[in-house]
Symmetry: C2
Subunit: 172 residues, 2 copies
DNA sequence: GTCTATACCCGGATAGAC
DNA sequence: GTCTATCCGGGTATAGAC
């Protein structure tokens, strides 16, 4: 059976918090054990007394982000509202959003349930249909990551593109 | 005015081809100048006689991929067909697809027109509406990258999720 | 709990000889 | 057009002293 992430000590949580501030303010290259340690005024090897390895740190950051997204979803009842919440969270925390969505998800190291809670809010917002929920999530993630990466043509009206997609899922 | 990518010499094209084979068969970690050179039986510094830097190599790979996608789109007239072509190309070339879609696009180093040609096919497939085209592209990219990264729940019926999204964009 | 020292890996890129 | 030698940077992680 898969064991999940161990509880973090108070000191470990400080490290995670510092790592997050670095990530959000300076981007993913800043998320190195040396840089995090330096920001705390210690040396990199000391971190390993508190966290098993870097993956544990990333899992903690990702679990936190899932939690926060679920909270942001709480007030949203329809697709337009949840899309706005999704886009708003990602735009406010672009580097964190990329960290939590890029590449495989190390589910065994996440806090149990965080992924499902975020997903359940999307399913509810589209009226309970899982297939439509997955498609709508893909739309939202696609819009978000293409927007964050500057992939749309310069000058594209992204509000209008979001609205077009939301209209499609609302009526389809 | 922005100058675009210089023509590649025949030897440079050989290097790009070798790089592509490495990328597709072994993944992005294999796309290093040392590994590419080794695969060609030469040393890494020699590559710089043929290509300015690694970005030039990546731009060539990306331009080729855009070209190929445009070609795959050529036979597709409606949204379902173009979505199937998109998904099929990405699934057949996952590492290349990630390379061409992840992060910012270095437009000045691409072959001129390759991005627009691929985009135009999507616009045509949704009937000419740019906003719907962007939303549909976001849906397709989102589905694709989440699928490639194993982000959907294990056992999720992705054919059904694709169909749900296509239906939404067809009717909405 | 922190330190120093270190081991090990990797990467892109340049200078100058041949 | 290729080579050797080298420079620069980076990273995760461990051992063992304090």
């Amino acid at each position: 059976m898969a064991t999940s992430a161990p509880e973090l000590s108070a000191r470990a949580r400080e490290i995670v918090q510092t790592a997050r501030e670095l990530l959000e303010s300076e981007g993913p290259e800043a998320l190195s054990m040396r840089r995090i340690a330096a920001a705390l005024g210690i040396k990199a090897p000391s971190l390993y007394k508190h966290l098993a390895d870097k993956q544990a740190l990333e899992a903690a950051l990702t679990s936190d982000a899932f939690d926060e997204i679920s909270r942001v979803f709480a007030d949203a009842n329809d697709l337009a509202a949840i899309a706005a919440a999704y886009r708003g969270y990602a735009t406010a925390h672009p580097h964190l959003y990329r960290l939590m969505t890029a590449g495989p998800l190390d589910r065994e190291r996440l806090e149990p349930g965080v992924e499902d809670r975020a997903g359940a809010a999307i399913v509810a917002a589209v009226g309970g249909d899982e297939q439509r929920a997955r498609a709508a999530w893909a739309f939202a993630h696609g819009m978000t990551i293409l927007e964050l990466d500057g992939r749309f043509p310069p000058g594209a009206d992204l509000d209008a593109a979001w609205a077009a997609g939301i209209a499609a899922f609302d009526s389809g």
